[in-house]
Amino acid sequence: MRILPKHLLQAWVERLRVDHRVVAPRESHGQYIFDEITSADELVLDYHSSVLPPKKYFLPPREDLFTFNAKTMEMSPVIEEIQPTVIMALHTCDLHAIQLLDRIQGTGHVDQHYQARRRKTTLVSIECMEPCMAQAFCKSLGTLSVPEQFDVHLTDLGDRYAVDVGSDAGEALIRGMGFFWKPSDADYDRFNEVMAGKWPNFDYRLDCDVTDLPNLLGASHDSALWDEIGERCLSCGQCTKVCPTCYCFDVVDEIDLKLEKGKRVRVWDSCLLEKFAVVAGGHDFRNSRANRLRHRFMRKGKYQLEAYGLLGCVGCGRCALSCPAHITPIATLNTLNERRQASPGESA
């Protein structure tokens, strides 16, 4: 652990800006958006959540995969060599999400486009002291503390930050900078006090244990609840766009009017959308809003865990905040749990 006095935070960030693009939350219409800062005094560490999660820096909403000439068949990959980037003030839920994305994009066929951006990015996270918004349920999902993989993590001790380093990339942001002190015994005491004091500020909002989610969802395939919330679902797909672990995409070609030069582009897609599972012959493998919602929930609470060893939900609450029909993970999962308890052995 190291100590960063708060009055040196801006100096540190200004120093980072010399050789990095520094990205941090910025206020927009009462919400926050991760964006590049052009001066350290724009830095905001205290924010509730961001509209889009930081995944947009590794998997942009629209991304060129390669350019081509359709006449000559020349093709050239677009692997963006981004400027070294520091993302500031990530909540730990978002770190957990990035850990899952890293695993997915690095499993089997490694996605070079993701890797190129991810490699150049260092993450500075902050310890959450209070629930960032009513929709968050990080404590229930075990994402209220840093995951195994992190770079630099800050804990607010009042007039100073405790700084933990979890990687070489993180160390590179700290070493030789001069802003960081060695912690005293009093700093450790204060750190322990702060860490012990924060947990009661968060509630367990999920009525079952997180390890029980795959079972709960596994038994829910025929639940009437999917139809009930499917009635309300608008299939607008917002929940997937704002989800820090959603990564599904569509691929489209763009070409000039002379039908010569073009590019292949990938665009974020959503399993909630009507055409997501339709094959060319017209057969729809998920032909109702209820089926599609169920698939999304299964993915978050069961499938991703089975496929990648990490849960697909980190409890950030963005989907609950953004749903115009108020479909929330907590209400959905707790209702499934309630119905399971009311009629054990039967489908919730």
């Binding site: 009462g30 009635e231 797909g237 917002q238 009017l257 039908l259 665009v267 115009p324 029909a325």
Partner: protein, 251 residues
């Protein structure tokens, strides 16, 4: 051989054709790949041997139908240009009111001088091959549609809701800003320009294929709209489509 293209208009403000003109100025290369043989807004010649017809405007009187059918006969591809041709557009607001009342309101004692009937989209009169939605149309979408036609395929337009465009550009949701929006049931493809400018979506690109009308009405209600206000919101561009969904025929 460059395909021959003609533009036509029926009941409309001709704003979509103005947008086409603007697109032609921004992308002069369009004229290297298509040959425009008829375009009243831009030229006086009137070639009749076109393969592709872009039609702006809704059909608002029985006598329009013959002309529309004639275009259909001649053209291999008919594209509805803009909200009026696509949806009946603003002209269809009157469809929920008794026609006589509307005529009197608009034309007073000269109402019998003017022929009219409930406004309808082109697709109610002829088979339409493709649609370029919007009020007005989007320049980029027009150029893309031409590209698709040159590739020998029907222009593809998004079939998902505007919320997707909105989130891809990271707009803060209008509902979270305390405003109302038809984005969740409206076809995307405009890059969410209205929400990006702080204005909720009015639905000019029409409804998505399976809109959850019950749920969008509930969301509007929760954001302070009365039933009348909701009906008005859904009438600006969506009268024809919502009446169809309800199975209501024009008065």
């Amino acid at each position: 051989m460059k395909p021959k293209v003609a533009f036509f208009e029926f009941t409309s403000c001709e704003g979509c054709q103005l947008t086409v003109l603007d697109t032609l100025q921004r992308h002069p290369e369009l004229l290297e790949v298509i040959e425009i043989v008829q375009f009243r807004e831009a030229m006086s010649e009137r070639g009749e041997d076109y393969q592709i017809a872009f039609i702006e405007g809704s059909c608002t009187r029985p006598s329009d139908e013959a002309k529309i059918r004639e275009i259909r006969e001649q053209a291999q591809i008919v594209v509805a240009l803009g909200a009026c041709a696509h949806l009946g557009g603003i002209n269809a607001i009157r469809n929920r009111m008794p026609l006589e009342q509307t005529r009197e309101y608009v034309y007073g004692d000269k109402k019998d001088w003017f022929e009219t009937y409930p406004a309808r989209p082109l697709s109610a009169v002829i088979e339409v091959d493709a649609v370029i939605p919007g009020c007005p149309i989007d320049r980029k979408e027009f150029a893309t549609a031409v590209t698709h036609l040159l590739q020998g395929r029907k222009p593809a337009i998004p079939d998902y809701p505007l919320c997707i465009d909105c989130k891809l550009t990271e707009n803060v949701c209008m509902f979270l800003r305390g405003q109302t929006c038809l984005g969740p049931v409206t076809r995307a493809g405009c890059e969410a320009i209205c929400p990006a400018q702080g204005q909720g979506c009015e639905g000019c690109r029409g409804l998505i294929p399976s809109p959850n009308m019950h749920s969008i009405k509930q969301a509007l209600r929760e954001h302070g709209m009365t039933e009348d206000q909701i009906a008005a919101k859904l009438s600006l561009f969506l009268t024809y489509q919502t009446m169809q969904l309800e199975g209501v025929t024009p008065a």
